[in-house]
Amino acid sequence: MTTHVEDGTLLRFLDGECHPGEHQAVALHRDACGRCATRLAQLSRRAQLTRQAIGLWDADMRPALRVSFPWRRAAVVMVMLGIGGAVRPVRAWIADGARAVWMAVAGTTTDGDIVPPPDQPAVASGLIRFEPAGTTFELTLPERQRAGVLRIEIAARPDAEAEVVGGSGAEDLMVLPTGLRIVSRAQSEASYTVRLPLQVEVVRVVFRDQPALTLLAAGSTTRWEVDLAQPPESTTVKADRVR
């Protein structure tokens, strides 16, 4: 090289991004050119200062992130999926067929299946407990209710449970191989709480005739609330608006 090395090339040299021939040429020039050697050292020092500056900002940001919105940091991402056409369940079919569902999947579960305790009825009202076997959990709510809230919590716990709160007795919780179906009626005002263990990483909430919401967790305590009277309809709903 007869001229000085450009700054961009010097930075590529510093970043280890020169191809071998270019690297060797820059190194040789640096050894022979005091001006480029000085400039290289200056660029290296300033790059280090810049990195420190960004690190300082991060150091301040980390506790802020941790405290100001822990549930959000715990990974609330809502993605509207193109899963439409949730089939309206027939209550009688559910009641009659639920145990058959268990029998069909018993012993042949795969990732994503839900395995109930042996003595756990598949259809129940009130509080039920079960064991999600996989990392994906699907919640189906075929009916838009007059009122009520769906609360989903992911936390450190050994198993899962679902509970009907304030129901009229007409609501059912049905554990399925893929998750949980909440069966209710349009005039219902019941709320539901679904508590899941940390192993669950993805929760899909499928409302009748709507694309599903997908809630992605990241291994720490996470909570969501969905208004059952006005479940989100937009395909770009964000987590903090689903309340």
Binding site: D15, L49, T50, I54, W57, L216, D240
Partner: protein
């Protein structure tokens, strides 16, 4: 799980943390960063790139564009370090007043230094900090590898000059 769902889930697991950090640095607003990353993952699900083998670069590019749009819409001033440490609570015990004062002063100087960058410079600098190569940065922002090196060096000079007299 469909292919798109799997792509989003994997992207979430692999890149979310880096994306939030990047956008938070870019905007100076951790809340906005969370929103932008959510929106980015929505885009991935709805309009994934044709070549899914380079999702990381695609995600950062989309996140950058969304962050810029979000800042425009909200009319929040584009910034890198604006008062994040001052306006948000700390989980750790507060430092003593002298230390707090010193840290606040350092933050102020750092903020001023980083605010001197243009949007493009900021984008490149932060992508470099996230481990992107010059070629990847060039592809992400639509320029040449050579230009990236030149602009990065200029950005580093801007910040470095402002900080050289400071003891970080």
């Amino acid at each position: 799980m469909s292919g798109s769902d799997a792509l989003v889930t994997e992207a979430f697991r692999e890149h979310r943390e880096a994306l939030v950090r990047y956008v938070a640095r870019f905007t100076g607003d951790p809340d906005l960063a969370e929103d932008v990353v959510q929106e980015t993952l929505l885009r991935l699900r709805d309009r994934p790139p044709a070549d899914t083998s380079h999702v990381r670069g695609w995600l950062f590019t989309v996140a950058t564009n969304l962050a810029r749009d979000a800042l425009k819409v909200s009319r929040r001033r584009l910034m890198l370090v604006r008062g994040a440490g001052d306006r948000l609570p700390h989980a750790d015990p507060p430092p003593d007043p002298a230390t707090a004062l010193e840290r606040a002063e350092v933050r102020r100087r750092v903020r001023l230094a980083l605010d001197r960058l243009s949007v493009k410079e900021r984008t490149m600098l932060l992508m470099r900090e996230e481990g992107f190569t010059h070629r990847e940065i060039a592809e992400a922002i639509g320029t040449t590898t050579k230009s990236v090196g030149t602009m990065l060096a200029r950005a580093i000079d801007k910040v470095g000059r402002a900080l050289e007299s400071e003891r970080l």
